[in-house]
């Protein structure tokens, strides 16, 4: 029994042990070599926990509960865990930069990073409101500190903003949870959903249920940076160390989505269905759909005017959250698969762009990278340039890249939903128009993504800038970026992650 439980949460246990170990190391080791050593230790902790998941993958893929059904394990949680852990490894790689971690904060960085990953992987596997909230806060608080690790004013400002917004939204979320607890009398999420959906079918306490669910949604919307809860994004992304921005844009967002998926995975309509013009439409779907449309439009249109690359990526990440939320608003099984797949692709392409930003920061010895700074870099470093270009067209959703397949699947689910109604009426047009807006927005997004490619390849480089070239560094970077770009191309064929579709 004990072994069984241990096996179930092995990766989390490894992470926790690793965190304690790193804290101790940081106290006792103080010379300059210790930095490298600590980073290696944390890399190996992450690799070890990936290994622990991969080795037991057959065991994990069955749906099962542990520890008084506080922890749930199924294929979704396994996929997300791998995604977080892999994201952590890439983040550690990007963190190797001249401007960052020169100071004594090495130990803190790795501790916080592993802590955030631990929180994220507990979010996916929690089946208990308290555990969920605790892990959610673990991820959030670690991220607040991570965002402030840079020694600039912008970084501190962003971190403070992040913490304030995060505090408000998570307090709203816990308010929602307390309502739900009061209504259902249980903290077990799967039990709670059954009780609440029973209540909805009996039409009791409808208003309070909706209010409490909306309050919970505020917390998640903030994590995934959906439209009205997005204000922290550009500032935090701009100020935070590049690796942290990358981490927030992928891992933290994926953690938010994983909980949203958990809610949607429950087949009984958790959300109050009512009849609108004779067709049953989900109130949640309408809210989510509208917010998603706003966030796609807002993210894309504001990004057009951005000069700072990290800020631009921040707005683009708002738009990408919108695309995924658009698909989720269709509320079908297909959307869940599509979002998981998209997050997978998004991991690679977004990390690649941030890795590139970090690369530029290093060779130019600067902290803020503007579009003007990457002029002509595509010609100078042609391999890296081509890889970044592939990532960019993937973000814009053009074939032959995984981004295209991802968007294809996302809009697929919307259209499937639109055509699933018996009579082709208002609801169908609602979902069709959502898809149309999403698709047209990807044309808009193309404009600013192409601006990056344009400045990289078509503009002349200004020669007066000093390029700090480190042959070894460049070489390692090339390999690293190549490793990231291959999955982007391979994922065009989405059957290669077929196990998602069989589950």
């Amino acid at each position: 029994m004990f072994m069984n439980v241990l096996l179930g949460i092995l990766s989390e246990v490894i992470l926790s042990v690793g965190i304690i170990f790193i804290i101790l190391l940081d106290i006792f080791l103080n010379d300059s070599n210790s930095k490298k050593f600590i980073s290696r230790v944390s890399l190996s902790v992450l690799l070890l926990s990936i290994l622990s998941v991969v080795c037991n993958i057959n065991y994990y893929l069955k749906e099962q509960f542990f520890l008084n059904s506080n922890i749930i394990l199924d294929n979704v949680s396994v996929v997300f865990k791998l995604l977080f852990l892999f994201g952590g490894i890439v983040t550690i790689f990007i963190s190797k930069s001249k401007n960052f971690l020169n100071n004594k904060k090495t130990g803190e960085f790795y501790t916080l990073l592993l802590g955030a990953i631990l929180g994220a992987s507990l979010i996916v596997s929690s089946n208990n409101i308290i555990l969920f909230y605790l892990s959610f806060e673990m991820l959030s608080i670690s991220s607040y500190v991570l965002a402030g690790l840079n020694d600039t004013k912008k970084s501190k400002e962003g971190a403070l903003k992040y913490a304030l917004f995060g505090g408000v939204s998570s307090s709203l979320m816990i308010l929602g949870f307390s309502y739900l607890y009061g209504l259902s009398g249980t903290i077990d999420i799967s039990q709670m959903t059954y009780i609440i959906s029973d209540m909805l079918t009996l039409e009791t306490n409808v208003i309070s249920i909706i209010i409490s669910l909306l309050l919970v949604f505020v917390g998640i919307g903030y994590k995934i940076s959906l439209f009205p809860f997005h204000f922290w994004v550009p500032d935090v992304y701009e100020g935070a160390p590049t690796c942290v921005s990358a981490f927030l844009s992928v891992v933290s967002k994926a953690a938010g989505f994983s909980f949203l998926l958990r809610v949607l995975l429950i087949p009984v309509g958790l959300w109050y269905e009512y009849f609108w013009n004779g067709v049953s439409v989900n109130s949640f779907q309408i809210i989510l759909g509208l917010l998603a449309v706003c966030s796609v439009c807002y993210g894309n249109f504001v990004a057009i005017k951005q000069d700072n690359l990290k800020r631009l990526m921040g707005y683009s990440s708002i738009a990408h959250a919108g695309y995924m939320a658009l698909a989720l608003s269709s509320g079908n099984k297909l959307a869940i698969k599509a979002v998981i797949f998209y997050l997978l692709v998004y991991l690679f392409m977004n990390f690649l762009v941030f890795a590139f930003i970090n690369f530029v920061e290093n060779i130019k010895d600067k902290k803020d990278i503007y579009l003007a700074d990457i002029r002509g870099l595509g010609k100078k470093f042609s391999l890296i340039g081509v890889c970044v270009f592939i990532a960019i067209i993937s973000l814009a959703g053009l074939p032959p890249t995984g981004g295209f397949s991802g968007k294809f699947l996302l809009f697929d689910s919307l259209i499937e939903r639109a055509l699933s109604f018996k009579d082709f009426g208002f609801a169908s047009y609602y979902f069709l128009s959502l898809a149309l807006i999403g698709v047209l927005n990807s044309v808009v997004s193309f404009y600013y993504y192409m601006k990056i490619a344009k400045t990289m390849f078509l503009s002349e480089s200004s020669d007066e800038e000093i390029l700090v070239e480190d042959k070894n560094f460049c070489f390692v970077y090339k390999i690293f970026i190549l490793l990231l770009v291959i999955p982007i191309l391979l994922l065009l064929n989405f059957s290669i992650v077929g196990f998602l579709y069989n589950g």
């Binding site: 055509l419 193309f446 078509l458």
Partner: protein
């Protein structure tokens, strides 16, 4: 080999591109010859395809099989993405084969005329071959998903070819070209998705992306009234392809792109890329919705758009001072005949439209090459500043006569046949339309003759006195085109007989 010949046509250019990337920068000549050889191979393989064409039989006169009229030898169907029933499905009908030949032919010529490219030759030819891969892919794809992938692959190299090697205002032209086309193609994507679900709901999940099957099954067709969704899908596809053709309100990218693009790319743009819009209409858009195309209102609407294209393009061309922009607007005008012919839904009209596709591909390419020749010598393109070129460059004048008069529609040359056949169809459809479109012919004659007069005739000017006549390489590019203009103008049945089976099938599908 026959089984894989389409894959070869499609992906050999890609091999060529990799090969070029591996070569050293210094060997400019060999890079160029590699590009030429691979374009030529694509041309030769397409010719071989035409020669060994073996059509799937039509079972009975009134019930054609799914792939009736498609080439049997080269038909290929492999599973690609299992979970979504996406196939690697390559098939060609007569129209695609002829367009493949045109593509191979014009690409070989385009390589020859790109001598003016001086910087970063390696990148230019690698992108050029990638573009060729995309173009060939569009013509051979028999699966909607694959079609879309190739359709988009084609855009990226074009963006860079205009953006890096273009003229002064190249960035603007490149991004404009890209955004317009992308806007059109995302609409196509939505339609593809809609068809996927409808086909699946009807139980054809295995053939959900199969173009031929969709045409046969008509998933959205219902007896009697036409629903709003059908109109929406029809117009989404129409706009998607109309941007490429280009049809009147979506045409503004074309003059910019043409003016900024280097000569070789202009040739490809005018010769092949515009044809893809027409190809999309003929292979996908109209056959998917024969019931909509049968409506009088829609026919009238498309015919009006076609006429507007003709007249508006010609009027714009008339007022241009830039030589290349004039040719670009003449392209807009000429592609109007294609739309007009298709809208007439008469055998002669469609026949004329298809002929016009090839006629314009040849004559417009020739005109762009001619403009390129003079631009390389004079380094400007202002019509008003030229004059008396005929005295200095007599041979060039002779080629220009062929090219420009072919474009004008002089009887005996290639342009005339397309326009004549189109008018035949349109006349039986609507006499008023034919009359207004006839006005377009008059306008065309006006701007072409005026331009010829200003550029070639008149006093011999001092600054142009030392111009060399056409060089050997330029001759190599102009002579084949000139021969085609004359031969196909004299014996149009050489071409018409080839694509006639396609017209027959189209007639059957569209039910007119």
């Amino acid at each position: 080999m026959d089984k894989y010949i389409l894959s070869l046509i499609c992906f050999l250019p890609l091999v060529g591109a990799f090969f070029i990337l591996c070569l050293n920068k210094k060997y400019e000549k060999s890079i160029k010859s590699v590009a030429f050889i691979f374009s030529l191979i694509s041309f030769i393989l397409s010719c071989y395809l035409l020669k060994n064409y073996n059509a799937f039989p039509i079972i009975a006169p009134k019930e054609p099989s799914l792939y009736a009229g498609y080439d049997k030898n080269s038909f290929l169907e492999l599973k690609w993405i299992d979970t979504f029933n996406i196939y690697y499905r390559l098939c060609v009908d007569k129209l695609s084969v002829l367009l493949l030949i045109l593509t191979g032919f014009l690409s070989s010529i385009a390589v020859l005329v790109s001598n003016s490219i001086k910087n970063n030759i390696k990148g230019f030819y690698a992108l050029f071959l990638l573009l060729l891969c995309g173009m060939n892919g569009v013509f051979v794809a028999g699966d909607m998903f694959l079609f879309y992938v190739f359709w988009e692959i084609m855009l990226l190299p074009m963006y860079f070819l205009i953006g890096i090697w273009g003229g002064k205002n190249r960035m603007y032209a490149a991004i404009k070209f890209f955004l317009y086309t992308l806007f059109g193609s995302v609409l196509i994507l939505l339609v593809i998705l809609a068809y996927y679900y409808k086909m699946k709901a009807l139980g054809f999940s295995n053939d959900a992306f199969n173009i031929a099957k969709i045409i046969e099954a008509k998933p959205f067709y219902q007896y009697g009234e036409i629903s709003l969704i059908q109109y929406l899908l029809f117009f989404a596809l129409f706009i998607g392809f109309a941007v490429k053709l280009p049809v009147f309100p979506f045409h503004t990218w074309l003059p910019d792109a043409h003016v900024e693009a280097p000569t070789a790319i202009s040739v490809i743009l005018a010769g092949v890329l515009l044809k893809m819009g027409a190809y999309g209409f003929l292979r996908i858009n109209f056959p998917f919705f024969p019931e909509i195309m049968a409506l009088d209102g829609i026919k009238l609407f498309l015919a009006i758009l076609g006429v507007v294209n003709i007249i508006y393009g010609a009027l714009c061309a008339l007022s241009q001072t830039d030589f290349k922009k004039l040719v670009a607007y003449s392209s807009v005008s000429h592609m109007g005949y294609v739309l007009l012919g298709l809208a007439s839904m008469k055998e002669e009209g469609v026949n004329g439209a298809v002929f016009q596709i090839f006629a314009h591909g040849i004559s417009a390419s020739m005109m762009f090459i001619l403009v390129g020749v003079i631009y390389e010598r004079a380094h400007h393109r202002e019509i008003a500043r030229f004059g008396g070129i005929a005295h200095v460059m007599p041979k060039y004048f002779a080629y220009s006569m062929v090219g420009f008069f072919a474009s004008l529609g002089l009887p005996g040359l290639i342009g005339f046949i397309g326009e004549f056949l189109t008018f035949l169809g349109v006349f039986s459809y609507s006499k008023i339309m034919a009359c207004i479109a006839g006005l377009g012919m008059l306008l065309t004659a006006t701007y072409i003759l005026l331009t010829m007069q200003k550029v070639f005739l008149g006093e011999k000017k001092e600054e142009y006195a030392k111009f060399l006549d056409v060089t050997l390489v330029e001759k190599c590019t102009l002579i084949p085109l000139a021969i085609l203009c004359v031969v196909l103008g004299g014996f149009p049945s050489l071409l018409i007989n080839e694509y006639m089976p396609f017209i027959e099938m189209y007639k059957y599908i569209m039910n007119f």
